[in-house]
């Protein structure tokens, strides 16, 4: 099932399972943040967050119309930096 179980014979394909595991870990952690700021703060926890306010806007409402979008942009750039770092660490050229 997983990539590591395959025997490494001469002339076989290089083993990139560590690179792939690191990629999945990064992706999942960032997607967790993606979920929390939009579906969490903007929708599910909105009523709770609305008791706080940011410049006169209820906080949950602000997340739904502004905050989540800012975090989305930042997340993609963090992902790029993280992926470049993982590639360097595992000697991936692309």
């Amino acid at each position: 099932m997983s990539d590591t179980e395959k025997p490494v014979a001469a002339g076989s394909r290089p083993d990139h399972s560590a690179y792939w595991r690191a990629t999945l870990t990064l992706t999942l952690s960032l997607l967790a943040v993606w979920f929390v700021v939009s579906f969490g703060a903007g929708i599910l926890l909105r009523d709770f967050l609305d008791q706080f306010s940011i410049g006169g806007a209820p906080l949950g409402f602000w997340f739904a119309q502004q905050g989540a979008i800012y975090v989305f942009v930042v997340l993609i750039f963090i992902y790029c930096i993280g992926m470049n770092r993982i590639a360097r660490k595992h000697g991936i050229k692309g």
Binding site: H16, A57, A64
Partner: protein
């Protein structure tokens, strides 16, 4: 006629620019025509993607939509931006590493099946045609509303311009015109927004004005808006009448739908590498976010300003507007604003004096004084009339017209590329006539693009006559989320996913979502029959999971894909390691 002059000038200049770019960026090969030679700079591709993505609806209607929906409008804001996070992390870099031309290319090769490829072609065509109808209609509306050219001729002019750069330049022409269109569009959107923010809150940035106090008063803008709305019998701006589960599902369907839309995915095939695709998605979302964080501010400002200037104003007839309104102002009264009079003939705003008192009453459904609402406004009016409301010079209005046109044309062109490549590449080259030469394919691609322009124009005319444009948008996102997203996602992240699973997943998503939306939009279904209270706009999210599970179960019950295909999946996960595998790559090597 000063305003019409500026509109003609800006529209004319921008069209000349697009045609100029088309001539400069002529496509010489199918590689140029489908994916701009895989050679677009990531930042430029980000701009092109943003223009591709933001349609006439985003530009003209979204701020107004949010102005009327309040918190409920958040589904569009989060849904149409959050999808880029999914795209950047789950699809774009891997599909770029796969290295072909179209979305059906991936489905057909990864699932080693012509049938799967054809189903993907059908999904892509269906999604793109429902989407393009709205764009062509947008072009027609912009022409007829501003320049006094009949709606049908507006569509024809739009078709000629798109024909020029899409047929001649293919993806290469489309990409560079989209870059120009993004610049026109974002300038046209933010300039009036900055001025209206200054007028209402004194803050230069609309995003900060959104969370500031009203100028000269000690109350926040949103609190004041809530107060004004409840006084008139509307619901609070920061509330909604939709249930939480519906809000959740609509947002999710729009996000997954965005990530599965073929015309967005192919934009990431035009960059050099998987790494470039990732950063390009970041740029795209940044450029999109500039408009999407401005829109809710514009919506709130416009709603406040609209009520402030129109409610309880004295209506004045056309003939003696100038003198009569000046008299009223001199007496300390409030006359109907000039912009309202200017836009009245278009039908986008209207007034009916139901109680015969000569005053214009704006009222919600629960008005405390029991009066009826007398003023109606179309969603588009807030963006269109913004420059006048903020008392900006005539040339700014011309700019907004050119911006609206740019938004509609750029999205239409991106969709046309998907339609033409589905026909020339996926149907002709990869399915029917496999031995075709590159030159022949390029010729067919051009003919297909020309045919697609023509078909899109007809769809625009036809759809407007039937008036169902708004109803079918739910189809595009729902189908992209339920039929295309699951197979692409599993194709990358689960090596064991096979042909049988993919076909079952696509068909399940397609049939369930189509059936549900059709039943509620055209088949007479009523909201109390909604499954778990989920409206047709959000149902794609639920059926996406159904399709995903159906696909996985089917795959587990049937034979695993060959070692070649599993190696292919491993290759696309690791940038720079892609080599040829299987029949698909033998027929067309990755590039």
């Amino acid at each position: 006629m000063d305003q019409a002059f500026w509109s003609y000038l800006f529209v004319g200049l921008s069209f000349a620019l697009y045609v100029g770019i088309a001539i400069w960026a002529r496509a010489g090969s199918t590689n140029d025509f489908y994916v701009a030679g895989h050679d677009v700079h990531p930042t430029l591709n980000g701009m092109a993607t943003a223009a591709d993505w933001m349609s006439a609806a985003s530009f003209l209607s979204m701020a107004g939509l949010i102005a009327f929906l309040g918190y409920g409008g958040s589904v569009y804001l989060m849904g149409w931006t959050g999808g880029y996070v999914l795209l950047a992390m789950l699809l774009a870099p891997y599909l770029r590493e796969f290295g072909k031309f179209t979305v059906p290319d991936f489905v057909g090769d990864r699932y080693y099946s012509t049938f799967a490829r054809i189903v993907a072609v059908i999904c892509a065509l269906f999604v793109s045609f429902t989407y393009i109808a709205g764009q062509m209609k947008g072009v027609g509306v912009a022409f007829s509303g501003f320049l006094g050219i009949p709606f049908e001729w507006g569509i024809v002019i739009g078709m000629v311009v798109v024909f020029f750069y899409a047929v001649l330049g293919g993806m290469k022409g489309v990409t560079y015109t989209q870059v120009a269109q993004y610049c026109v569009m974002i300038f046209a959107y933010t300039v009036p927004a900055i001025f209206i923010s200054l007028t209402i809150t004194g803050n230069v940035f609309p995003q900060l004005g959104f969370i500031s106090d009203v100028r000269g008063e000690d109350i926040s803008m949103l609190a004041k808006l809530n107060g004004v709305l409840t006084d008139l019998g509307f619901a609070e701006y920061t509330s909604t009448n939709k249930t939480m589960i519906d809000i959740f599902c609509i947002t999710a369907a729009l996000m997954f739908g965005t990530a599965g839309l073929p015309h967005v995915i192919v934009r990431f095939f035009t960059v050099k590498s998987a790494k470039a695709a990732r950063i390009s998605a970041g740029w795209a979302l940044l450029f999109i976010a500039i408009l999407y964080t401005t829109a809710p501010a514009v919506g709130a400002f416009a709603r406040l300003n609209f009520i402030d200037t129109v409610n309880e104003a004295t209506y004045v007839s056309d003939e003696d507007y100038e003198t009569r309104s000046a008299e009223i102002e001199a007496e300390g009264g409030k006359a109907v604003p000039a912009w309202f009079k200017n836009w009245e003939p278009t039908g986008l705003v209207s007034f009916e004096d139901k109680n015969g008192d000569g005053q214009m009453q704006i009222r919600g459904p629960n008005a405390p004084d029991g009066l009826e609402n007398e003023v109606t406004a179309n969603n588009d009016i807030f963006v269109l009339a913004n420059p006048e409301i903020a008392r900006l010079p005539g040339w700014v209005i011309g700019l907004v017209v050119a911006g609206g046109m740019a938004a509609a044309l750029s999205t239409a062109a991106g969709l046309l590329m998907v339609i033409s490549s589905a026909v020339s590449h996926d149907l002709c080259r990869r399915t029917l006539f496999k031995g075709m030469s590159d030159t022949t394919e390029l010729r067919i691609a051009r003919v297909a693009a020309a045919g697609a322009v023509f078909a899109a124009g007809l769809v625009g005319l036809f759809a407007d006559k039937l008036g169902f444009v708004a109803q079918v948008v739910a189809f595009a996102f729902g189908l992209a989320a339920a039929s295309l997203f699951p197979v692409i996602f599993l194709g990358i992240f689960w090596k064991r996913m096979n042909k049988e699973g993919a076909i079952v997943a696509m068909l399940t998503g397609l049939i369930t979502t189509f059936g549900y939306i059709y039943f509620f939009k055209f088949g007479g279904g009523t909201p109390d029959q909604y499954l778990f209270g989920i409206s047709p706009e959000g149902i794609g999210f639920l059926f996406m999971w159904v399709a995903l599970i159906a696909g996985i179960v089917t795959a587990l019950m049937t034979r695993a894909p060959s070692q070649e295909i599993q190696d292919l999946v491993e290759d696309i996960r690791v940038p720079g390691s892609r080599t040829g595998h299987g029949e698909g790559d033998a027929a067309m090597p990755p590039g």
